[in-house]
């Protein structure tokens, strides 16, 4: 594919760092504001909080020009196919931030109309709880995502880490079987 697939390990570290820095430096979000979180997302773009300082004030209307899909708000069953379609239209590399509890887990709406978490539809990289999360919380999540992108492994490293993560997930106890823990 590219240098990241075939590079020898000692070179890969530098490539990862360089590529991570380039990718996280100026993530362009796609406009995917749905509900209350969308208003807080818009407020994050305005002068008081200003995500232009991390390079992200250009919300792209077209998903084909976007890197990051911030699913801001509750996803109804009618909207679900459209979420998937917009995600599919984004070119690689792409990331998804589930903003708010409705996008992360269905939120307070446990009913027939809302998809209980947008990770049922698209793979999510960062979950941001809050109802709605304050703009400062959104900026925190974005900076966390930047760190994650900066440290993304490539090539052989990536395959190793992905396999390890999958093995750990298969061995893990499901939540309702974790007895005796309150936190």
């Amino acid at each position: 594919m590219g240098i990241e697939e075939s590079a020898p390990p000692f070179l890969l570290g530098t490539v990862e760092g360089l590529l991570g820095w380039a990718r996280s430096g100026s993530l362009w979000p796609a406009t995917f504001g749905l509900a209350c979180c969308a208003i807080e997302m818009m407020a994050t773009g305005t002068p008081r909080f200003d995500i232009a300082r991390i390079g992200q004030e250009v919300f792209r209307g077209s998903p084909r020009q976007a890197d990051l899909m911030i699913v801001a708000g509750r996803v109804s069953n009618k909207m679900a196919p459209i979420v998937r379609q917009v995600y599919d239209q984004m070119p690689e590399p792409k990331w998804v931030l589930a903003m708010g509890v409705c996008a992360s887990s269905g939120g307070m709406f446990n009913n027939y109309a809302i998809v209980p978490g947008v990770d049922h539809i698209v793979p999510v990289d960062i979950y941001l709880p809050g109802c709605p999360p304050r703009p400062e919380m959104l900026i925190n999540a974005l900076l966390e995502l930047h760190t994650q992108i900066q440290n993304t492994p490539l090539g052989a490293n990536r395959r190793e880490i992905a396999a390890a993560a999958e093995a750990a997930a298969l061995k893990a106890t499901p939540t309702s079987d974790m007895m005796g823990l309150l936190r």
């Binding site: 407020a43 109804s76 459209i82 009913n111 109309a113």
Partner: protein, 448 residues
């Protein structure tokens, strides 16, 4: 005959005024004529889908166009349907506030207010709500109104391509949020207005803070007026666009700034006052132009009027210092008191000392009200308030229990969006964006 010469059907050869005229270059004449006829009859349907930067939310608009002119418009909604009304049937009356507040998320406390007014009407305690609680409610409602109008004007400008309008509007909105956050603890979706009053009193220093911020908000509004209203491009795009005269508005049941721009000064705050609105001094801006431009002007003027009311609220808060903010009946009043703790949140230690050490009744009331909730006698009511977008109504049916039997909200955006066809058909595609912005609906309220 040069290459520039074109072949026309001469007028003398046809008396039919409907006959189409085609210009042909080379190729078989009949083939070209057939294709031209077919293309002229083809309907082009453009879908401004649910995900679109200019549809003000998840609204789907299906436009049938002919060139740049829109011949038919259909709006598809329901992409944000959350089942809030059905959810409320499984939550207590007080918990219902947290649900209804998320319908129109731009002006969340309007829904809280109409719902709580309906619950209080069912309980029969409308007159027992303390005056200070009413003043706080009016303060919150007017700040929410300013916030909602600023979003309407700001996102309208953004959708036209003028991002500065949006940044100006949202910075003004941040000032209203500073006041709201100081009093209720949250910027939006507050659950502050609850049946019986408001949940927590304004902290010390609120009145000075409000008085300090009012001139700042007014300055932002002045900026918006200077930026937009005399701008020639703004006028070209908004004047005489999205016209809806009074007859059309009455037929479609339009309320709010859209109705007032058509000339009828109908405002529920003046017609059927609630929360003490009859004691405040404010005007109802009206216009007769009934176009998008006049609606923007009206919304900004309403913001100035709301600031007047906010100033009057601040004066009254000063006079009513120390008054209760919840109804006196301990079997209804929300018991929990909150205070700022070391971690930024938490229960008031005074309140905990009172219920644990001093009063058994207070402990029982606290427990029963939080777990079970109060019971409301069976019956149904309908209350309406003047939300920022129009007449916001709440139909509430009680079955005598702790949870509503049915809660239905008449959202003004849902009603006003029916006029999208009239506003856009016959106009240009670019005017569709202006029309949607001028209706000022919020899809959360439309879809509930």
């Amino acid at each position: 005959m040069t290459a520039e010469d074109t072949f026309h059907a001469m007028g003398a050869f046809t008396d039919d005024p409907e006959a189409a005229e085609y210009t042909a270059y080379g190729s078989d004449w009949s083939e070209i004529a057939d294709e031209a006829t077919r293309l002229a009859q083809q309907r082009i349907v453009v879908n401004m889908g649910p995900q679109h930067p200019s549809t003000h939310g998840v609204l789907r608009v299906m436009l049938e166009i002919e060139g740049e002119t829109v011949t038919e418009t259909r709006a598809g909604i329901g992409y944000l349907h959350t089942g809030i009304e059905k959810n409320m049937e499984f939550r207590t009356w007080t918990q219902g506030v947290t649900f209804c507040t998320r319908m129109d998320y731009v002006a969340s406390m309007s829904q809280e207010a109409v719902y709580c007014l309906a619950v209080e009407k069912l309980l029969g305690i409308t007159d027992d709500v303390p005056e200070r609680a009413n003043v706080l409610r009016v303060l919150m409602l007017e700040l929410t109104r300013i916030g909602s109008h600023l979003v309407a004007v700001g996102t309208g400008g953004n959708e036209l391509g003028a991002t500065t309008v949006m940044t100006e509007a949202f910075v003004g909105r941040e000032d209203t949020f500073r006041i709201i956050e100081m009093i209720s603890g949250l910027r939006t979706n507050n659950a502050y207005i609850r049946p019986g009053g408001v949940v927590v009193d304004a902290p010390a220093g609120t009145v000075e803070y409000i008085r300090k911020l009012i001139p700042q908000i007014r300055e932002r509004l002045d900026h918006l007026v200077d930026l937009q209203l005399e701008n020639p491009i703004f006028k070209l795009r908004l004047k005489n666009v999205a016209n809806l005269n009074l007859a059309g508005a009455m037929a479609l049941g339009i309320t709010g700034p859209m109705l007032r721009s058509a000339g009828l000064p109908y405002d529920v705050r003046k017609a059927e006052p609630y929360c003490g609105y009859e004691t405040y001094d404010f005007q109802i801006p009206t216009s007769t132009d009934a176009d998008a431009y006049s609606r923007v002007v009206l919304r900004l003027e309403e913001c100035y009027e709301s600031l007047k009311i906010v100033a009057q609220c601040a004066d009254r808060l000063e006079q009513l210092e120390g008054q209760p903010v919840m109804v006196a009946d301990k079997k209804i009043a929300w018991p929990a008191q909150l205070a700022l703790g070391p971690d930024g949140q938490g229960n008031s230690l005074d309140h905990i000392r009172h219920i644990m050490g001093e009063s058994m009744e207070a402990l029982i009331h606290h427990f029963k009200l939080v777990t079970e909730g109060f019971k409301v006698p069976a019956g149904q009511v309908y209350t309406a308030i003047e939300g920022p977008k129009g007449l916001l109504g709440c139909h509430l049916v009680s079955d005598g229990g702790t949870k509503p039997w049915r809660a239905h909200f008449r959202d003004p955006g849902f009603n006003n969006l029916q006029s999208l066809g009239i506003l856009t058909e016959g106009g240009q595609i670019a005017d569709v964006v202006v029309s949607i912005a001028t209706i000022d609906m919020v899809l959360g309220g439309v879809d509930r």
